[in-house]
Each structure stands twice: as structure tokens, then as C-alpha cells.
Symmetry: C2
Amino acid sequence: MIKIALDAMGSDNSPSADVEGAVLAAREFDYDIVMVGDAGLIEKELDKYRPIPENISIHHAPEVISMHEQPVLSVRRKKQSSIVVLANLAKEKKVDAIVSAGNTGAMVCAATLKCRLLPGIERAGIGVLMPTLKGTVLMIDGGANIDAKPKHLLQYAIMGSAYSQYILNNRSPKIGLLNIGEEESKGTGFLKDAYGLLELSGLNFIGNIEGRDIFGGDCDVIVCDGLVGNVALKVSESTAHAIVEMLRRELKSSLLSKLAAILGKSAFYSLKRKMDYAEYGGAPLLGIDGICIICHGSSPSKAIKNAIRVAGEEVIKNVNQHIVEKVT
Amino acid sequence: MIKIALDAMGSDNSPSADVEGAVLAAREFDYDIVMVGDAGLIEKELDKYRPIPENISIHHAPEVISMHEQPVLSVRRKKQSSIVVLANLAKEKKVDAIVSAGNTGAMVCAATLKCRLLPGIERAGIGVLMPTLKGTVLMIDGGANIDAKPKHLLQYAIMGSAYSQYILNNRSPKIGLLNIGEEESKGTGFLKDAYGLLELSGLNFIGNIEGRDIFGGDCDVIVCDGLVGNVALKVSESTAHAIVEMLRRELKSSLLSKLAAILGKSAFYSLKRKMDYAEYGGAPLLGIDGICIICHGSSPSKAIKNAIRVAGEEVIKNVNQHIVEKVT
């Protein structure tokens, strides 16, 4: 049976959201789920979900790396932290995949250090899944590596293409380079060099795309460096949040609009569901020799459950093998 | 009377949207408006708006720089283009401000070359105005300069602070540096250096902010390099567009939700108005020795009119003088 380790101390509401997510996943999927963290705290949480599914177990890890700790230092110092223990389980192949909603930088660092990178890959990248008007787009890198070189962007494209093909079922994923304009001549030297590499890559590279094109859905994989990707991701999340909040305020402004809010409830709910990252579960950290899914710190139990689902899919579809075949 | 020159050949719907915007502005404001472009085409458009306001005139410019032309080359070659003629009018102080919805790169290039930069400023920056939950935030640079150095970000902060104080009436504008995380240690060497300069600047620098903080409105001026700013701007526009489109589709899905759409019409309209960049008019190109407002290519006449209004405000409030005082 596929074995997936979950950081029980990861999310902002840990361990309750994480443990609940694990229980939901254990009930729904045929995976062995190993919860990593403070055994006492986890047991206490688990007690709420009797009968506890048999495919859940606990792996004790007494330390926690908090959200604001410096990634490299904390990974080096806290060898008994849930994140480092998780990475070690993956390294030793004791589990097939790991999932964490904890400190992203620390998880990237631990996973890269312990599992090492796939042959031909020099930097791991976070693949962020975003809803568009025509389906789901994968943006890579969402913030694993902010000092990228052009060849890293090529590697992201290869990894993103494999993920898009085997997990999102796009036969020949269209790759776009996130830039300031569409013309080949646009952007910094870094971006022009990346463009050149992508053009020769044999991938289905469709050229530069702009920030405005992300949600059009004409592209399956968007390649960018981690700083730009991180800003793009967070801006899009916060724009969505601001619009929903503005709409909520407007709909409270009159009796008629309050009625509209009630009548439109299912439409609003359906929209919310489409935009909700919890549906996607988490972001794959691509490029490491292992499978690691990174979740939002604010993940509710549903997001944790879906991240475990996605981790299992990655194992089954053998994405890493496809990446290695494409890159070498 | 304040004299403002408008690129009549600028927008995607030129000259009709541009000319209509000029007519609307001429009727509403006490400005002399000079339309720059193909005189024959402008006259034909103007003919639709009889009686033509007396404060509108035409300055013939036979050439046009299209949206896809390379900025530096086109400015050098097309000396009779509306954009280059516009920049020359500003340089020779024949007008107090210029407005264009044309090729942004070409307008930045022409304005910088002809008008030169203010003393102490080494790069012009586009100041983008964005709605937030608490008012308006100015993000600089929206894409004038994608090879910024840390000191340019300091200059953007000074210019943005002056603009925010004198045009947006924030007494002590809060400045944030757009980064991948809040901690001082975050980001590339470039961003760390910029952080250090901002900390010593005497401005009201509140530290790093993340993409997710832009719309919270806790910051009055957001400083970033042109590539990141351009991506952030376009991602936020396209997220907003995608959400509105998704909501439109959802609201069509049932009879009840169709009714909700009708009852909520004024709320939806009010939201649309808040998010609509046409309300803001355009983005000031800050740092040049002159006043230049850059509009979206897709600007409707209302956006052109508002851009002319904003240009006039900048003249009246003497923003450039305040920038020079702060920077030197």
C-alpha cells in the first residue's frame, strides 16, 4: 500500500487541521498515513475521531520549525523537527511521499538536502496549481528558488510539462514564459536567455506570456523564477480575496442586494469552490528525488486531505520517472 | 490655462476613444487640450462632437508608433510620430503635461530622452494606482525599467511618497518593499540592498510586504522593480477579470441565481466601478522633468478623460517640485 507521511505540526491550526485532514484521507483513500510530530499532541487530537482508521499511524518528532524561522538554519539545528524527520523518511524510502503545511522554505531546504535532486535537475521548483477560465494551469516556480539561472527555467519547464501531462492529462502541455511582454525581444537578459533555451527544448513552447494571460487558460505550464512566481501567486490570491470581500460589502448595502446575496448563494458558493486552493490540496515540489507536496499554512483539513490525495496520484503516475526521461 | 497634450493615436480604439476622451475632458475641465496625431483623422472624429469645445486644438503628427514596435528603435526612427511629438511638446514646455494610451515602452523612452530626468533621479518609474480594501495604493515601478538597481528602488520610494502625499493626500505615506516574505532577511541580494537603503531613507518605510498584502491597504506606496511590478499589475487585473467572468457564468446557471444577478445589479455595478482602472485614468510616469500620464491601451474614453484630469492635478499640485526637494 502507498505510504504517505504528513507533517502533523505544519499548518497554522496544527495539529488539529492536519490531524483531521489525515483522518479524512485515511477514511477516503487506500493509503497508509503516517503522522509526524509530537506523539502526545497527535494522540490527543486523534482521540476525537474514534474509531481511528487502521491505516493511520504516528511517528514521533518532538521539535517544530515555526513559520518565521530561517529555513537553512532551522533545518540544520532542529534534526528532530517534523519537517526534517519527514524529509528523512522520504530519503530512506520509508514512505512514498511527504506532505507539509509548515514553513515552506524549511520544507524545500530539508527535502532538497535529504532526498537530493533528480539526475539532470539543479534546482527544485514549487509547482503551483491555479484555476483558469479553461481549466488548471501549473506555474513553476512558486518560490523555491529566487536566484534562478536560465537553465533552471528550462528544467522547470521540463518538470512542469511532465506533471501537466501525467497528472493533469494534457497530451502536449503548452509552456509559456512569464515576461513583461509577448515579443521575443522582451525582458531582461535572463529572460531572453531562458527564451532561447526553451525554444530549442523540444517542448511545446508557445513563447512569452504576460501576467494578464495566466487566467485565460491558453497555457498549461507557466515558467518563471521564484520571486516573480511567488508575487504572482500571492497577488492573485489577494486580488481574489479583496474582490470577494468588496462584493460581500456591496451586497450588504441594500435590502435588494441582500436578497440577491441569498438567492445567489449557490452561485457564489460554486465560484468560491472553483477559486479555493483547498480543492487543489497543495503544490508539488518538483525536482527532488522523492515526492513532496507543500500546502498553504492556512490549509483547512480539506486541503490537507486533498494534498494527500495528490501525493498519492504522483506516486501512482510515477511523475519523477517521466521527468528523468525527459531531462536526460 | 493649463495645457495638456493628448496622444490621439494612442489607444487600441484610436482615434475614436482618445478623441472622445479629449472632448469629455474639454467640456468638464478648464484645460487647453491639444490632440496630437493625424490631423485629418482627428478632424473627422471631432466632427461627431459638434459644437466642438473651444479649448480643444490639433497638433499634426503624421506617424504612429504601434503597440508592437520596439520602443528605442521606433522613437529614434519615427520623429513625426504622435508619441515623439508629444515628448517634444513637453520638453519645449509648450504644454504642461502629456497623456498617451499608446506603446508604453516608446512613451517611457521618448519622455525620458526628450524631457530628461529630474535632478537626483536616475530612472523613471511608472506609478500604478490600485484599489484596495482601504483606499488606493501606488505601486512603483509598473514596468518602465526592468533592470533596476537598489538605488533606483530608493528613488521610486521617494517619488511614490511625494505623489502619495500631494496627490492622494496621505500625510506620511507608508512605504513597503515587495518581497517574497516579511522578514528583513528575505529575498535576493538586490532586495536586501534596497531594504537597507530604504531603512536609512528617512521615509516612513514599514519593511517588506508580500504579494498578498497589496490589497489589504496597510501600505500607501509599494516599491518593486519593473518586471515584478508589471507581473503583479497584470496578474491582479486578470484575476479580477477571471473572477467576474466566473461569477457571471455561475449566475447564469439557474433561475434563482439569474434573479440574484438582477437584484444585485447595483452592487455588482458598484464593485465593477471600484475595480475599474478607467476610474483612475492612468499611471503617472514619475521621475521625468515633465508630467506624463500613461494609459492602458484598452482605455475607453472615460479613462482618457480621467487621465487628463489626473495630469492637470499633477500640474496644480506641483509634484515634481516636491520630488526634487525630497531627493536632493
